[in-house]
Symmetry: C2
Subunit: 720 residues, 2 copies
């Protein structure tokens, strides 16, 4: 310990201490990525379960394993990999080139109709895109802009005429396109955008117009530089023969050319500017657009859900303007689904790097006489990394569930209003959870690798910078959690059923129960509280039913309490109701997060049944337990305040976590290896074995010096 | 709410909703940075306290207010400000130029001797440097490398001969210098570095040598490109006439020229490489160095604490090699002190940006019929930002305390072994706390500003990227917390006094007490638990004695429990002892964090007495309460498990926080304005009033459209 008190200001290193000879691993640097087990010999007993890594990789790759492997082949190709340090203009040009090469070679058009060269494979298409984050997040997101938003809007909001006219060039990236929805003044509130498209029956054209600066389209990928067309969202205004005045039919999408492909100049009436440098994703040319009375043919309204006849008569297959609006926007859920998957993949890459390095890098144990312990054999290092590994597994399995739900809806196999709402709620719950998890994981991994983690060559900082905006785009995470919270409240009211007053009474009863700190609901929880022995209760915490009951009870109780707390809003003035809602916004967000975590836990638990190998299943069960217990520990105060856990039981949560960390530690490398990434995907010097190689060289030099007999002797201790 | 469910993938925006007319503020965009008070009218009552902003600025600027104001004048000069998007080579060249201009004009040499043009003002010097972070963190850190490390080592480790020979060029940056301590294989463990400096009595020279790759000096600022000299730390090996063999006298520092100033080429025997791109701070040329039997004159050993005579006889004023080592390294504490201050300043900048924007940016209240609420009037937005504001105030006051302690020691006014150890422990506690706080704050501010926060023009992402490495350099945060934890254990043993067995018994008694969930120690806590009424206990939580008792009790109990848990290590085998220590490493870190937070709380509370204005004092008292309660809420499970708070009282913690947030909300702008930064320091478009201006323009256009009578009408609702 004594020597850790010194670090120069320009030494951005982690908690390192020096290498010293290690007879076990000196001969074989490769072996050092396996734990040496110093101090944890009992974990290496003969009956210790082993992870069957390749089989676990299959489980993790899931339903679309072949497509994912194909996409990783793309990622392994240097043509698609990020080159660090490029000037922005070159990075942008490179990513555009990559996009066109992908279109030609990359099997990235699966979501499009078979007749146009696609495969009508929606889930498989997303699975492939999610893998591209390992090449360069800019490539993943630019692909998302081009195919997931621009072309997808033509596909889902347009009709066959638009598909024939515009999809081929959108698919091939002959026409890079922007998705012009967001305005500087309106982010989440798409319904209130101010751009208008007014039908002029005399000419048979729409006039697209930006009324003021706040209505400029903003943050649009492909708008800053490359886009030659855009799908522009605008308030559709038309006046049919029977309309006494022009009518605003709400937000619709229009296909609008914006730049001359040959010169790159804006077309007449179109203007804009580059959003400039960003905190990440600088391979994408985000920008702003405005329109000054730009005329487009009537037929360039993407008219699947709303059409205007030559005489200005509006018609739609969906009579309700509100439902029409949400139907149109509902086609965009795929963005959230793919961000969820990409974020989990980024977290995996971070953990591969940090765990591999943590298994090589050695430092003295300050207070320990046994020297040169690898980082992962330090308690705090395990504490920082392994729960993130457990959460990454949970997020992987939860994403697989989300992707299946997405494919069920978009393939038409299960496309009902209910299943669409379920899909949207699921995506709104998981996307915030996984994107925040990715940032936390990448940052913790960066710190766990010390100064080496700060070097761009080791990838962690760039991945983190690129992933940063994932938490606020495609639906700001906090806004999405509120959406989930409100759906939970609605669902609660539906389940309770009957008269609203009855609901309120029922909720009131439950809350009173909780306030008295009695046990509600769950049998296992009851048992847990009654049990007196700490060891026994740790055993109970290992029981999946106990974990589920605790986590599920938390969600249902929070929702019931919220419903009760918000009840007076129904009869209050608008101001008071708003105040009341505002006062509980934080709890609403918390309830949504708890719901998302329960979804992850359930997905992890279901996945255990798909693991054929007994040893692997045992290790994954510990990992699931670590995930469940980590969730419970994180919200321990809630369980205590609400009487779900006694103080004595609460103490066992933490001690059981410590035991699980020790159990899992020998398997950490297997668990990250099972993600299935090779060096061509990881591309980080510190995860390459170089550290172990340097240690071996140092050991050999020290050995030779000792053998030479000329080594200096230490300064004698002064006489007292 | 209904419309928040739609967000395009390339729309990295926050939780925004559209602007709509606001008669109160439309006429005056500037006024919109003040809260409108919608829904919070009671907070704007006539007897509402007001913050006297300029007077509060004086309090915050503290002892070195004039020097800080001077440094902010430097920051306001565009020559010193960061230019975003520069290629690395240009950024590096610009920062080197800035450094030289600072030396000539910037009053940055205050720490150096008066006779050489300095002012012998150690605290004031650091205060100025901390402010430079607002110009460009690269400038702050490169200045730290040049003057705080390289020149400072010459000053503190050298003698007058070295001062005369080397300080003038180091001070003027005629010689940019590296501080070559860290090696690739050794970060924290400076004592084990492998570079050697072997005295050759025949030639009267030291031979500096790097034995293998792991011993390369690494991560050194100025080493990648600009440095022409370095202070190199190496194991000093010498053989005096009486020594039978060469003796290793431990780590010493040597002045070593490394590059030809004219050509920029390495001198013979010196080599190295550039560390390349980093996750931030790319205005600094970090790099690696190696030495192949490089000879330097005997007199270039910086010999204040250890000298070698011509014949190889070693002598030192400090007999103990260990104490000598720590004395040498103790001079480096200023790096941690200044990082603490700079990190707090970076958090301030982030909060100025996010709070100002949050006071302008409007969005619909989804569930509210009262429209266009500014972001800060949303409960969750307050919850995310205001506790960070409270913590930033606490960190500011704690830093002022640290800086005073630093100046007391370095000025010689109070330079004793005890005061040095106290200073080192204080720095080791506060630096991790404030640097992690800065990262959390900058990230939360970025997210609170949505997509706008992701644009480089709005500064948040760059500040965060640059500050990232602050958490692992100058002592890895986790390692520093362990150091603090161990000092707490030592101090505990000293306080308890007497025989170790007695200590153990005493600790055991305390722990048993806690395990029984009885109240220990504190009168106020006892009262709290006994009180039955929630309102009354909220009042008690407002009592500073209650807050102090809870926070102090937590630290002392954790330390006592740790001492007890580690007790068996004294009689155990080394392996068992290491295992035991490892098993409690996480708690050690937690105890250190709790200690640091208590220090911050104490500093905040003491600072309240220095506020002359009653209104300001009231608001700051609420802010201090918010800080204290936030700390208690964050560790609520601990207080519950250990019986310090009942479940009922624990509930009042959160509800009291919500009340404090509402109370503080009208003062949020004043509280960030009081940091005293002008637009020339903030330099973020979203904090400029542009948002409010766009809203005013949109309102006027909407008003005109309504007045024209030609506005389209909404689509009629369909008949059921």
């Amino acid at each position: 310990m004594t020597t850790t008190d010194a670090r120069p200001a320009d030494a951005p290193t982690g908690a390192e201490r020096p290498a010293a000879p290690d007879p076990v691993t000196a001969a074989s640097p490769v072996a050092t990525v396996r734990p040496t087990g110093a101090g944890h010999a009992r974990d290496r007993a003969a009956d210790e379960p082993r992870v069957a890594v390749p089989a676990l990789t299959d489980v993790l790759l899931g339903r679309y394993a072949d497509l994912r492997r194909g996409a990783r082949g793309v990622v392994a190709d240097p043509r698609f990999q990020r080159v660090e340090g490029l000037p922005v203009s070159e990075h942008r040009a490179r990513v555009l080139d990559q996009l066109r090469t992908l279109a030609a070679e990359g099997d990235v058009l699966r979501a499009f109709p078979t007749r146009l060269g696609g495969a009508d494979d929606h889930g498989g298409s997303l699975a492939r895109f999610e893998e591209l984050v390992a090449a360069d997040p800019s490539l993943q997101i630019k692909a998302g802009v081009q195919w997931g938003l621009f072309a997808s809007a033509i596909l889902h909001l347009g009709t066959e005429r638009h598909h024939d006219a515009y999809l081929p060039d959108a698919m091939s990236v002959a026409v890079p396109g922007a998705f012009a929805m967001t305005e500087t003044g309106h982010g989440s509130d798409v319904a209130s955008i101010a751009t208008t498209a007014t039908y002029d029956a005399a000419s048979g054209e729409f006039v697209v117009h930006t009324p003021y600066r706040a209505a400029w389209k903003d943050y649009l990928g492909n708008a800053g530089q490359h886009g030659t067309a855009a799908v522009v969202f605008a308030q559709l205004v038309a006046q049919g023969p029977d309309d006494p005045r022009p009518v605003n039919h709400g937000v619709h999408a229009f296909y609008v050319p914006i730049r001359d492909a040959a010169t790159g100049e804006f077309l007449p009436g179109v203007g804009g500017e580059d959003d400039g440098l960003k905190g990440g994703l600088n391979g994408i040319d985000n920008g702003r657009l405005w329109f000054d009375h730009v005329r487009v043919p009537r037929t360039d309204l993407l008219d699947r859900y709303g059409a205007v006849a030559e005489d200005g008569t509006y018609s739609s297959p969906i009579a309700s303007p509100g439902r029409r609006f949400f139907t149109m926007l509902g086609t965009l859920v795929q963005g959230r689904v793919s961000l969820d998957g990409a974020a989990v993949n980024a977290a995996k890459l971070g953990l591969v790097i940090a765990v591999t390095y943590g298994n090589q890098r050695r430092q003295f144990a300050g207070s320990s006489p046994t020297d040169e312990v690898v980082l992962l054999d330090y308690g705090e290092h395990r504490r920082r990394l392994l729960p993130l590994l457990a959460e990454t597994y949970a997020a992987t399995f939860a994403h697989e569930h989300l992707l299946a739900a997405f494919d069920d809806v978009f393939s038409g196999r299960d496309d009902t209003p209910d299943s669409r709402e379920e899909l949207e709620t699921l995506a709104a719950a998981l996307k915030p959870t996984s994107t925040w998890h990715a940032l936390r994981t990448l940052q913790t991994c960066r710190e766990a690798c010390g100064g080496a983690g700060f070097l761009t060559a080791n990838r962690l900082t760039s991945l983190r910078a690129d992933l940063d905006v994932y938490v606020t785009f495609e639906g700001d995470n906090t806004v999405l959690y509120q959406l989930v919270g409100k759906r939970l409240l609605t669902r609660y009211a539906q389940q309770v059923g009957g008269d609203p007053a009855d609901i309120a009474r029922l909720v009131a009863g439950q809350v009173a129960d909780a306030a008295l700190h009695r046990m509600p609901l769950a049998r296992a929880v009851q048992t847990l509280v009654d049990a007196g022995d700490a060891r026994r209760s740790a055993g109970q915490l290992r029981d999946p039913e106990t974990q589920r009951d605790l986590l599920a009870d938390r969600v249902s109780t929070m929702v019931a309490e919220l419903a009760q707390a918000l009840r007076p809003a129904r009869k209050a003035s608008p101001e008071v109701a708003a105040s009341l809602f505002d006062a509980h916004q934080h709890e609403l967000v918390q309830a949504a997060r708890a719901h998302a975590e329960l979804l992850q836990w359930e997905a992890f638990t279901r996945a255990l049944d798909t693991v054929p190998d007994a040893g692997t299943k045992q290790v994954l069960t510990w990992l699931r337990d670590l995930f469940g217990l980590t969730l419970i520990e994180r919200d321990l105060a809630w369980f205590l305040v609400n009487g779900r856990l006694s103080a004595g039981r609460a103490r066992t949560v933490t001690s059981y976590i410590e035991r699980l960390l020790l159990r899992l530690r020998p398997h950490a490398q297997d668990l990250v290896d099972a993600f299935g990434y090779g060096p061509e995907h990881v591309r980080a010097e510190i995860a390459s074995g170089a550290e172990a190689g340097r240690q071996a060289e140092a050991r050999e030099a020290q050995r030779a010096a000792r053998a030479s007999g000329t080594e200096p002797v230490p300064e004698p201790k002064p006489r007292r």
